[in-house]
Amino acid sequence: MEKDTLLLLEKVNQLSLSESERDTVLGFFEKRECDMEKLNAIDTENVERMVHVLPINTVVREDVAKKLFTRDDLQKGAPETMDGFWQVPRVVE
């Protein structure tokens, strides 16, 4: 893992690490190389991907609207609201 790649991953995930944290994370990525070696030692040439561990099919239901919560309920945990809207900083200068 190159530091530039880590910086890109930070940006994509909206995180900003300190230099000492970056060293720790790079060390972690280095250790994970042994995970890759373990997996590559297993022949998966003719093996299908397993997304679900058990044979569970996608569940469908009637497309019926239900009102479970009010707007006020949903905004109870919001950091900042105004007039029933979630408040964020100005996005258009």
């Binding site: 250790k31 997996l39 297993i42 991907r49 569970i56 919001a78």
Partner: protein, 370 residues
């Protein structure tokens, strides 16, 4: 009234659920998780919530934002016999490690037999709601209460299958012992002796591809976690930084200030695993290895009723230990969705829907003494 504790991954509408993270400090859910409703309907009292490591991915709860002294709080609470059991979300094996190191029993059920509706989601393809208690009988009683089909969880088996799994009691007659290095080998030897005393045939086998389960689970878990925690952005709910001038800074500073380093590391690793460059080599490969491991277990269960393996590498951790290595013992059940029961400091894994049979074996071993 029998008292039950919940971990901080389980939503309740009466008290906050923080997932062990500053991001959700003070957050209260709008509804009760299905397991909570089932327990209340059955007459149990929800006695409170116990701390959990940040998003339940650490060793034994040490990454909880409220402080490392909160680690293993479940074990301390269960020392008090006024509480019958503790319900915990098993994402990366932490509750199994806590049980193993503290002489408790933990049942991780077959994936899809206990509703995950109302859990803070982390690694949805493998995480399970389990029960920790002082003995296997209490574990079974509570597990039988919380199993069952829930229309709100799309990854569940039929009601009959779920209930039969928890109640199953077919005797375990033949056990395979997975050869895995551990400092807690005395626990394995003691369990083998107790099994022999119960007339159970024991045979040692090599771990083979199962030894690679943690490599696959580290990738799958981090990839799923990376997506699941992307919702925490400081806008809709949870922590918001005071230090921002624009929307980008609000997102970045909120997440940076609220998340701990273990979680940030897992997010970054998961994002790397899912990147265009690595998707096929890492994520896709891990999903194929997952099938190889499931098939390896199926091969073992053609000849054996259960597998005995360590739950931990040692009976106490230091700061140098990491869940990403230690989950070598817990990842086999996480990545395959198979039921696992920790008892007497060791772990039993059985075929899908053999939860009750594993608990019956744990009860039989308890009778042989600690």
């Amino acid at each position: 009234m029998k008292k039950i504790m919940l971990d901080q991954m389980i939503l309740t509408d009466c008290c906050p659920t923080n997932a062990g993270s500053k991001m959700l400090d003070g957050y209260t859910g709008l509804f009760n998780a299905t397991v909570v409703e089932k327990l209340k309907e059955a007459g149990y009292e929800i006695a409170g919530k116990l701390p959990v490591g940040e998003f339940a991915i650490d060793l034994v709860g040490e990454s909880c934002f409220a402080g490392a002294d909160k680690a293993s709080a479940a074990a301390k609470t269960l020392e008090n016999d006024t509480v019958m059991a503790h319900i915990a979300l098993d994402v990366n094996g932490a509750p199994r490690r806590v049980a193993a190191q503290n002489g408790l029993v933990f049942a991780k059920p077959t994936y899809g037999t206990v509703s995950r509706f109302g859990m803070i989601p982390v690694a949805c393809s493998g995480e399970c709601v389990g029960v920790m208690a002082r003995n296997a009988a209490d574990c079974r009683e509570v597990l039988c209460t919380i199993v069952g089909k829930d229309e709100k969880d799309g990854t569940m088996h039929t009601d009959e299958v779920c209930k039969n799994a928890a109640a199953a009691a077919a005797p375990v007659k033949k056990v395979a012992v997975l050869k895995m290095p551990t400092d807690a080998n005395d626990k394995i030897e003691a369990t083998k002796a107790k099994m022999a005393a119960n007339g159970i045939e024991i045979c040692e086998i090599d771990a083979g591809v199962i030894a690679s389960a943690n490599a696959a689970w580290n990738m799958l878990m981090c990839a799923e976690l990376c997506n699941n925690v992307s919702r925490y952005d400081g806008v809709k709910y949870g922590y918001r930084t005071k230090n921002y001038k624009n929307l980008d800074e609000l997102y970045t500073n909120s997440r940076t200030e609220a998340f701990g380093l273990t979680l940030k590391t897992a997010i970054l690793y998961g994002s790397d695993v899912l990147s265009t460059k690595n998707y096929m080599a890492k994520y896709d490969k891990a999903m194929r290895v997952r099938r190889v491991i499931v098939e390896a277990f199926a091969g073992i269960f053609a000849d054996f009723d259960a597998v005995l393996l360590p739950a931990v590498s040692k009976m106490a951790y230091t700061e140098k230990d990491s869940a990403f290595e230690e989950n070598a013992y817990t990842a086999p059940a996480s990545v395959t969705g198979l039921p696992a029961v920790v008892t007497n400091g060791v772990q039993l894994i059985g075929p899908a829907f053999s939860d009750g049979a594993l608990l019956a074996l744990a009860e039989a071993l308890e009778k042989e003494g600690k």
